[in-house]
């Protein structure tokens, strides 16, 4: 995390981004001319109904998908034209993904899951395990490192996923409906944890259809509709003093 990054500086910029999908004869614009800046250290909630293009937006920003038109700039440098290896390096070094369905590798332990991005980055065995342990301690699962995902509750799995997303010290956390599969109490815990990370200086883009929760936690709301930005505003949450928030202070997950 770039806790030291100056707020306000642009981290990601989308300029006229279009993403067109073809279904035989018909073409659908999942993104239809999106212009957006995400400042360093901000906590942006992207909300919209199913099919509004929010997942495509996340994939394009995360370098998993390439826009059909327009460009995505990361710290002023375009993602366009990068090779698939360069995009992989971008995901490995800049991005941390958090998914709705956690997407933990089922046969790896919590520790191994958290260490996985570091293994992909070529880090040594002991070094990455030490780092993974540190992160699991941070999300309150330091005692459950040897458990496999099936032995963890939904909230715990998402904590492991967050620890995994943080393992490579990303500049940008992309969370795709991270609370979609959780009960509301656990959802609050996870959101609290994201807010704490934000407080530490982490830049977070959260995609959700849960407008109410986004309003409470995010400092900026972007509403997507039919692939366009329909609304872009700051929230009252932006005024909340975050100095007291911390990840460790987040309430423990169920069963922890």
């Amino acid at each position: 995390m770039n806790a030291t990054a100056a707020k306000g500086e642009t981290l990601i910029e989308l300029v006229g981004v279009r993403k067109r999908y073809r279904f035989g004869e018909a073409a659908v614009n999942a993104l239809d001319g999106v212009d957006l800046r995400v400042a360093k250290g901000s906590f942006v909630g992207v909300i919209g109904r199913s099919g509004s293009g929010k997942s495509t937006f996340l994939n394009v920003v995360g370098g998993l998908d390439r826009p059909s038109e327009g460009s995505v700039l990361v710290q002023g440098r375009a993602l366009m034209g990068r090779t698939s290896d360069e995009l992989a390096a971008y995901r490995r070094q800049v991005i941390g993904f958090i998914f709705q369905s956690f997407n933990l590798v089922p046969h790896l332990t919590a520790l191994e899951n958290v260490a996985l991005p570091l293994a992909l980055a070529g880090q040594g065995y002991f070094e990455r395990r030490r780092r993974a342990q540190e992160l699991l301690d941070k999300v309150g699962l330091g005692a459950r490192t040897g458990h496999r995902p099936t032995e963890l509750s939904g909230g715990e799995r998402q904590r492991v996923a967050i620890a995994r997303a943080l393992s490579n010290d990303p500049q940008l956390l992309l969370a795709d409906e991270p609370t979609g599969n959780l009960d509301s109490r656990t959802a609050e815990e996870i959101m609290g944890m994201l807010r704490a990370l934000h407080a530490e200086g982490c830049t977070i883009v959260l995609v959700t259809h849960d407008r109410e929760r986004a309003e409470r936690y995010c400092e900026r709301i972007v509403v997507l509709e039919d692939g366009r930005v329909k609304e872009d505003r700051t929230t009252s949450a932006a005024l909340v003093d975050l100095s007291a928030a911390s990840v460790e202070a987040a309430p423990p997950a169920e069963g922890a």
Partner: protein
Amino acid sequence: MRLSDVGAHAFANLARHKLRTALTLCGVGIGVATLTVMVSLGEGIKRLIEDQVDKAELVTRITVLPKGAAGQLPIFRRGGRGGQQDDDEAGPKLDDDVVEQLGKLPGVVVVYPDTHTPWLGAELDGRVLQAESEGLPAKAITANYQRALLAGRYWTEAESQAEVAVAPSRVLEDLGIKPEAAIGTRVYFMRIDQLGRYEMEPEELPAAPDAPGAEPRPLRVRYVRPPDARLIEVEIIGVYESEEFGLAGRRFQVPLTFGRRLLAESGLERALGGQASAGRYRALTVKVEGRTDVAPVRERIEQKGFDTFAIADALKFVAIVFAVIEVLLAFFGGIGLVVSFFGIANTMVMAVLERTREIGVFKALGARDRDVRRIFLAEAAAIGVTGGALGVLFGWGVGQGLNRVGSWVMREALNERLVELFYVPGWLAVACIGVSTVVAAVAGLYPAWRAARLDPVVALRME
């Protein structure tokens, strides 16, 4: 991603799907085992032949013949004019001068005339048999000869005039005499045409003519030696392990001087060519120090106007024949590997399908296409290595089993000694595992390529 991590990941994945891995490994293992068994058969036979050649030190031996005589005994020549050699051949003669000259060539250990007598009668322990003799100077008795001794000893330099013999184990075995028991006993040599005959007669003369219906009296076998037989009495001082196959199994080794006498007494001297007793030989044997000495020494000898023959020529041909045989055996053995190729490809295609979502996750976390490709290639190769190792073990076991059965058959049915027809040398084991690994990796190429090409967005959407 580090290669060590890729490998560890591959084995972990295989270990997770125990049944599927086991089934695939069975397929690969059986394929590799077939290959191993097939090629080890070729290797075994080749080794058998090479061992025989080595034991007889044939590789470091050069046979020197008068010009134009190569490969032909006078009696087998067209027209069948045995003993006409002197008139036929124009080149220099093989005599004691030549023996001395050749003995001085660099790399030569010893030169001695060929006194091999292929037909001799021998009487041993009251029984007769056809035997051969070969005269050897004490210097020609190398460590290999000493190693082959089962009992007793060879003659020494000081005993070069002695009339002693080292008997072949095969003859004693046939007569049911233990090697140790043969030491000190006598063998009587004679011309082959003086071999006596066996006569059969009733055990006892009847006191009265046979009563009708009486039991026929058992017959007794008696050896009758011709009254004019000239016997040469020899003491057996040693027994060597003779070859299991072939004609050399009845060859008595004797000191060179005595060998000449036996050849002369055999009456075959002129028929075989040369006249050893008069110092003219049909052939000389040149023993050189090592394999590499064969070629230069041969060249020097041929410059002197003689023909030479070295087993190395024949061995080259044997090597070619065996290379062809092994390729054929490997081809048929390789069919099993082709089958396992498809088995592995199938397993890997399934693995990619099943782990599509996982591949998406890996890519989202920053895995490059080549990382994904390597993961699946490594998994396929891991099947190949493991299956190859199991297959080699299994194939080796099958070969050992067949060796046992083969030895039993040889002993019970053919009265031959134990043979190892199936032999897995180290290089064969390594090669089989290597081939199996490569085949597996190639089988994994397409599935791995598909996995690497997966669109992460699509892969992540997979349920």
